[in-house]
């Protein structure tokens, strides 16, 4: 998944919950999904992606 997509999905979820349109039964599922997305995004920001590093260094 791309960071951009993750953020977009996250915004959707927040809008759903904030809009009060979400079924209470769905909230815990959405919350779990949101947490996964947040974790994914934070990792991108703060954790070294070894794969990216490897790809970029391989060319040198």
């Amino acid at each position: 998944m791309k960071y951009e997509e993750a953020m977009k999905r996250l915004e959707e979820i927040v809008a759903q919950i904030e809009g009060g349109k979400l079924d209470i039964d769905m909230i815990s599922d959405r919350l779990k999904e949101a947490q996964t997305l947040i974790k994914f995004c934070k990792d991108k920001l703060y954790e070294t992606d070894e794969e990216v590093r490897r790809i970029l260094e391989a060319e040198d």
Partner: protein, 409 residues
């Protein structure tokens, strides 16, 4: 016939020139080559080209002696923001000299930077007009910068101080954001800049999927050699580049044409790093905001649902009570109606009975006998006709207060 030595001939040429052209002249020319010597003199080769710019019409050597050069150089660099360099059009004040050994040359006494600036500005305008006509001037700016521009292709010189500044600034960012940099080396000074930077950009273009953004940064010297970034080729490459290009070329005054077409231009390599860090920071803040809102709104929603439930549970008893009262009323009403119905039914029937009783009473024979009528029977049967009787029949006459037995004669 007089014969001269070469030295004598050249000596005459020298004195003739000195005599005929003693003054200083302001001359417009283009620098075609330039070098400086150990003692600090500056040697130029000046040319004049035809309008096509391909054919040389005139050529001369020009020397700026150390003492003059030491004054002219800072003055020129201060005014133009550029170093005197090959390709520049210059307005020079010169005197003509001839040396027996080295021949014809000019000695430079003054240099007018405004002429060079005017020429650079004209050239710039021409490039901008051409890029505008190509329809590419806003092309790079209209690209979208990734939310996380973390994979950075750097065009710079590995030894440039600016490159180090940029990397240090990125890596040492106070938020702990990750960046991945790769250098595509290019010459950032001298007349090879255009070709070198252009080929570095081509190399990046071939692997563009691996990068989010391109950064062109330079050493950060105060003045540059020639306006090598006022180049149509480079500006066009940048404008057409498929990734956003950030220029940190570091011109003191005007932006170069490359700055003009780039996605963003910054003054220094450090500022280029800050630009990217702040972009990531904005994204990180947006994420923080979403994270907070997710939690907040779920909590709020839960509180609201709880209130809804509480309200319902509070309402329920009174609702039930209301329901009970209503049902009781309905029941009572029914009961009453049953009572009334029954009463009516009974009342109706008793009236009927009364009528029946009355008509029964009216038919009582005793009542008729009381009025003076009598009833005659014979042999226990009511006599309704005289023909029913014979002579000697014994009849019984029933009266109100008794019976009389008689014999028919």
């Amino acid at each position: 016939m007089e014969t001269l030595t070469l030295l004598e001939l050249n000596g005459r040429v020298k004195s003739t020139l000195q005599f005929a052209m003693p003054d200083a002249y302001w001359v417009q020319a283009e620098i075609s080559s330039m070098s400086s010597s150990g003692p600090g003199h500056c040697y130029l080769e000046l040319v004049q080209k035809d309008e096509s710019g391909r054919t040389f019409l005139a050529k001369a050597k020009a020397n700026i002696w150390k003492s003059t050069w030491m004054q002219l150089r800072p003055k020129f660099e201060y005014a133009t923001g550029q170093r005197l360099a090959v390709g520049m059009k210059v307005l020079l004040q010169v005197t003509v000299t001839f040396h027996e050994m080295y021949g014809y040359s000019l000695v430079v006494h003054d240099l007018d930077p405004t002429y060079t600036m005017g020429d650079m500005a004209r050239r710039r305008r021409e490039i901008i007009a051409r890029l505008t006509a190509d329809g590419v001037i806003d092309l790079n700016r209209s690209l979208e910068l990734a939310l996380l521009p973390q994979r950075i292709a750097i065009v710079s010189s590995a030894t440039a101080a600016g490159y180090g500044d940029f990397c240090n600034q990125l890596e040492g960012n106070m938020y702990g954001f990750r960046f991945y940099c790769r250098l595509f080396p290019a010459l950032m000074q001298g007349d090879q800049v255009e070709a070198s930077v252009s080929s570095a950009l081509n190399a990046i273009a071939r692997v563009r999927d691996k990068f989010d953004v391109v950064v062109i940064i330079r050493g950060g010297g105060a003045v540059s050699e020639l306006s090598c970034f006022d180049s149509y080729t480079l500006a066009s490459d940048i404008a057409n580049f498929p990734l956003p290009v950030i220029t940190g070329i570091g011109h003191e005054r005007d932006d170069t044409v490359c700055d003009l077409v780039s996605f963003a231009k910054v003054k220094t390599p450090t500022a280029a790093a800050e630009f990217l860090i702040s972009r990531v920071y904005d994204t990180a803040m947006a994420l923080e905001d979403l994270t907070r809102r997710t939690g907040d709104c779920v909590r709020e929603r839960m509180v609201r649902e709880k209130q809804r439930m509480q309200l319902l549970s509070q309402k329920l008893p009174s609702l039930f009570a209301l329901l009970k009262v209503r049902q009781e009323h309905v029941l009572e009403n029914s009961w009453n109606r049953i009572g009334i119905g029954l009463k009516n039914l009974i009342a109706g029937n008793s009236h009927k009975l009364e009528l029946m009783e009355k008509s029964l009473a009216a038919a009582d024979p005793k009542l008729i006998l009381g009025r003076g009528y009598s009833l005659t029977t014979c042999g226990g049967k009511t006599v309704r006709s005289a023909a029913d009787l014979k002579k000697g029949s014994v009849i019984v006459t029933v009266l109100r207060d008794g019976e009389i037995e008689s014999e028919v004669r």
